[in-house]
Amino acid sequence: MTNSAVLVRGLRVRRGGLEVLRDVGFEVPRGSVTGLLGPSGCGKTTLMRAIVGAQIVESGEVTVLGLPAGDPKLRARVGYATQNPAVYADLTVTECLRYFASVLRAPASDVDRVIADVDLHGQANQLVGKLSGGQSSRAGLAVALLGKPELLVLDEPTVGLDPVLRDELWALFARLAKAGTTLLVSSHVMDEAARCERLLLMREGIILADDTPEGLRVDTGKHDLEQAFLHLVRSREAA
């Protein structure tokens, strides 16, 4: 039994003949917010799909909450928000959440709670298909928050949101982590990195760095995390 919420060792994934993940290994400590940062196309989504057990992997091990990823017992314990929100365009926000709540066997009161969490009060009775991109991505996030998931895997949950909302969501993530939930949040925007307790920097299917934001700054001698990332990429290319 490990103390990490997620433990990945030697993970390799091949998609369409290309090696998308090349020997990836890291741990995500419980009750923390870990950021998975990297440019679009670097393998973040594939890695997250491997963690929730939706990805066929070539080799390596992925352990989630002490069980192999994809174990049936994990299905109610892991919340996942896909990048293209997994919501029904022809249902209202409330109807959609009610459905997923009954699949997860979460209490009906959860629906109102998660709508409040992602600030979709005003849109609760609107069709999902009529929402803006940011709103429907928040609807997808709301689905992930249903029930009491111990691990939340969120694929770019803050894309397209205005700065105030983004700030509120990061505050929500911090609150959830404080209450014991583990969060793995991906983003391709480096300025979100500072909001995470730990960072995984990814590029071209490998993990470049696995550190705290502070540790990364000290290691690279750059205060700006974007610069720190660039420094890492360049020093690796030089090597």
Binding site: T82, N84, Y99, F100, S102, L104
Partner: protein, 244 residues
């Protein structure tokens, strides 16, 4: 499997449809309109009574096939299926949810078409109208189940739509409606023997002509029912929790 989740899924699909009233109206009325059209094409109650029962099965079969294959394809190609497959939901919960939702609609669809045909269009049913209704609903379910199944092999809506002529029209051509099955060549006859719609049409024709419930009728119903179950189970088996 879990009855609550299955029923929640059926309710969700019906709610989705409720937001699309035009589709509901078309689902409920198109077979009836086609039956009415057919009645006036023949302009003869006797000829109509000979052809109509088979078409009472065929129209819902075709419509349900299309609707089911497109909706499930939509579920497969958007992220919702992947998401559901990471949730504590059995594959059969999803497929049975679809079966219950579309089966319910089929009852109304076929009920209206049968009612109008018998009451106003002069369709003469020797056997029980309820049996006729039952077989027609079974046909609709068969179309639905086959639609669910073949949607697994379509990667786009264009392909899904074109599976209709591939899977449905040959069954229609060979089901004995255009030409009695035993007067076809042995190859076509053998082909029609392995097509479930043939058994459905045989059963429908039998019910209109005779009040007797004989072994052949029962056998035909069992064959159609078994095909529905088989297609539902195979459809569930095509769902994947892990994908490349």
């Amino acid at each position: 499997m879990n009855a609550t989740i299955t029923l929640a899924t059926a309710r969700r699909i019906l709610t989705q449809l409720r937001h699309d009233p035009r589709t509901i109206v078309m689902l409920l009325l198109v077979p009836t309109l086609l039956m009415t059209l057919l009645r006036f094409v023949f302009n003869d109650e006797l000829v109509f009574s000979r052809i109509a029962p088979a078409l009472l099965g065929v129209f819902p079969f075709v419509i349900m096939f299309l609707i089911a294959s497109v909706t499930t394809l939509r579920e497969r190609t958007t992220a919702t299926l992947e998401r559901l497959m990471t949730m504590p939901m059995a594959k059969l919960d999803l497929i049975l949810g679809y079966a219950i939702a579309f089966g319910g609609i089929a009852v109304f669809q076929v009920g209206i078409a049968t009612g109008v045909s018998v009451l106003w269009l002069g369709l003469d049913v020797a056997g029980s109208v309820w049996t006729l209704l039952f077989i027609a609903v079974l046909d609709a379910l068969l179309g639905m189940a086959l639609g669910l199944l073949v949607s697994a092999f379509a990667t786009s809506e264009f392909q899904a739509i074109q599976f209709m002529p591939v899977f449905v029209l040959p069954q229609f051509l060979l089901c004995g409606l255009l030409q009695p099955r035993d007067s076809m060549g042995w190859v076509l006859n053998a082909l029609s023997d392995v097509m479930p719609l043939s058994y459905a049409v045989d059963a429908l024709t039998h019910v209109t002509r005779s009040a007797e419930v004989d072994l052949t009728l029962l056998r035909n119903l069992v064959v159609v029912g078994a095909c529905v179950v088989l297609a539902v189970v195979l459809g569930a088996a095509t769902l994947r929790r892990r994908t490349p």
